[in-house]
């Protein structure tokens, strides 16, 4: 069996009558960048807080780097670096002093401080107070904090939240480097697919506490069934004819009929079929849903 960096088994947590996380089985391969996606309030942060032992699950098991995490045994966290939501930094201390606080707590060697400052490229401003840092610098420093203990696994909750495009780019570049250069597995959450799509090899989508999808980006892409968009002069007649011929009609918003189809041959056939029966076709195109559409349909359908 392949070694997993994070494995949860039927992880659940309730808050009062609300089930924030419901039977979640995560499987994060070592060396991967795993994007944990879901809209706000889907259960991402609750899951992450359980992975870090910050809150206790009502049911289920957690294994980090093949070791079980229990209330009284937090030793698996030794090889885990974590950044949960807004960075936890002391504004009255300098960047270096902030690192020193965590270094002392971890009992890590002193050399670690300059190593992690190099990685996040903050050497130049390390002796300035953090209250004077930009948001992007703070986020990089927070990332440096997570690296102090030489982790094998990084758990990052919305690491690019609130950053400007340049800041997002910097963090994304850093995250991309981690598995390649340092052999670190990265588990990161986001509410935006577009943000994760460019760095992640694997995706988990959580919605209303349930894991709706887990797999590679390619597997997610495979969910995009193509379809034909058909524009005709007589929508009702065309709908009747298509259904008669056994086509699966997805709907006809704004007079454009969406039909399940796989390729150009299907398109040509459908065109000929309609035209020979007296329906004029003025638009015909093969369309694919974007990943964003799939994400939205996975997380949105249950709203309807």
């Amino acid at each position: 069996m392949q070694s997993l960096a994070i494995e949860t088994h039927q992880l659940s947590r309730r808050f009062g009558s609300i089930t924030a996380v419901n039977d979640v089985n995560l499987a994060v391969r070592r060396g991967a960048v795993y994007g944990f996606l879901g809209p706000n309030g889907a259960g991402k942060t609750t899951t992450i807080r359980m992975l870090l032992g910050l809150i206790q699950p009502n049911a289920g098991r957690i294994c980090l780097l093949d070791k079980p995490l229990r209330r009284n045994d937090r030793s698996p966290l030794r090889r885990v670096g974590a950044l949960v939501e807004a960075p936890s930094l002391y504004g009255h201390l300098t960047g270096r002093e902030n690192l020193e606080v965590t270094r002392r707590l971890l009992g890590a060697p002193r050399e670690q401080i300059s190593r992690v400052l190099d990685i996040v490229r903050l050497q130049d401003v390390a002796d300035r107070r953090v209250s004077q840092y930009s948001l992007g610098m703070k986020q990089r420093l927070a990332l440096a904090l997570t690296l102090l203990g030489e982790p094998e696994l990084l758990i990052l909750d919305e690491p690019t939240n609130g950053l400007d495009p340049a800041g997002i780019h910097e963090i994304r570049d850093l995250i991309r480097e981690f598995p390649r250069r340092y052999g670190i597995t990265v588990f990161l959450s986001s509410h935006l697919l577009s943000e994760v799509e460019q760095v992640a090899d694997a995706i988990g989508i959580i919605h209303r506490g349930r894991l709706m999808f887990q797999g590679s980006l390619d597997e997610l892409r495979a969910l995009r069934e193509p379809h034909l968009a058909v524009g005709v002069d007589q929508t009702e007649a065309a709908l009747g004819l298509l259904r008669e011929a056994g086509y699966v009609v997805q709907g006809s918003p704004n007079g454009v009929i969406h039909v399940d189809a796989n390729n150009a041959t299907d398109a040509a056939e459908l065109n000929r079929y309609l035209v020979t029966r007296g329906v004029a076709v003025h638009h015909l195109s093969l369309q694919q849903r974007s990943l964003e559409d799939i994400f939205l349909s996975l997380t949105g359908e249950s709203h309807a």
Binding site: R49, I55, S88, Y90, H92, R104, L106
Partner: protein, 257 residues
């Protein structure tokens, strides 16, 4: 134990450039300064008795004022400031996600708070003696006998009495300040409890049993009697240790949201 030492050294670094650290000096020196002003203004009228010893007077006055009024409010403020460093930077989730047992982080805070109060009580004694020297050097109160002996033998019992009897208050306030992010909760507890001080202080039966009066009772042998003094000291100290242990257990079991 290693974990605790690590957490403690991290706590000390966190205090750098904080108001909490400044208050460690400001609060006791303010009490000493107040007594210096009293002495400068009323010095003449205090010399009446033959047995007036300026050093003894300064020590007792500073200690009582500190124990009764300043200490309870100071503990309120100081514990709130010390925990506020972490509340303000939302550091708990970071600290508690580190591979350290959570008790070590709580206990480091607790010990820092004990240490701060201990140090400021020592500074209070130094400030008391210093204000006497300042009055002497000013030459404004020539009638005072500055050659009276400094009661060095009383200093250890005054300092340790106030300090150890205050452990229960410090433990209560450490818990309140860790548990509630809001400064208002800590202030409310501290202010209400201190006001009650003035009522209970006059009751010889109750004063030794009320945490906020214990520090002052513990140094007033003549007023309350030896038994009451020992009871106040014992409850303050043992109660402080027990309260800290239970509070630590309570806080470390909570979800960190």
């Amino acid at each position: 134990m290693t974990y605790f030492i690590r957490a403690l050294s991290a706590e000390i670094l966190k205090l750098k450039r904080t108001l909490a650290l400044a208050m460690l000096f400001i609060a006791p020196l303010a009490v000493a300064l107040l007594n210096l002003l009293i002495l400068l203004r009323a010095g003449q009228s205090m010399v009446s008795g033959d047995d007036f010893n300026i050093w003894d007077w300064l020590l007792r006055n500073c200690a009582s004022m500190w124990g009764l009024l300043m200490l309870p409010l100071y503990v309120t403020l100081e514990t709130a400031l010390v925990s506020g460093v972490d509340h303000g930077s939302s550091a708990w989730k970071h600290l508690y996600a580190l591979p350290l047992p959570r008790w070590s982080i709580y206990m480091a805070k607790q010990v820092i708070n004990f240490g701060i109060v201990g140090l400021s009580t020592l500074i209070l004694v130094a400030g008391a003696l210093l204000s006497g020297l300042i009055v002497q050097a000013s030459g404004l109160q020539p009638a005072i006998d500055y050659s009276a002996p400094v009661p060095w033998d009383k200093i250890p019992s005054i300092v340790s009495g106030i300090f150890f009897a205050a452990w229960l208050i410090i433990a209560i306030h450490t818990w309140v300040s860790m548990r509630w992010r809001s400064f208002t909760v800590a202030s409310a507890v501290g202010i209400v409890a201190t006001v009650v001080n003035f009522v209970l202080l006059n009751s010889r039966e109750l004063a030794p049993y009320y945490p906020w009066t214990q520090p002052v009772v513990s140094i007033q042998h003549t007023l309350y009697g030896m038994t009451a003094t020992s009871v106040a000291l014992a409850i303050g100290f043992v109660g402080g240790v027990l309260f800290a242990l239970v509070a630590c257990w309570e806080v470390t079991r909570r979800d960190v949201l």
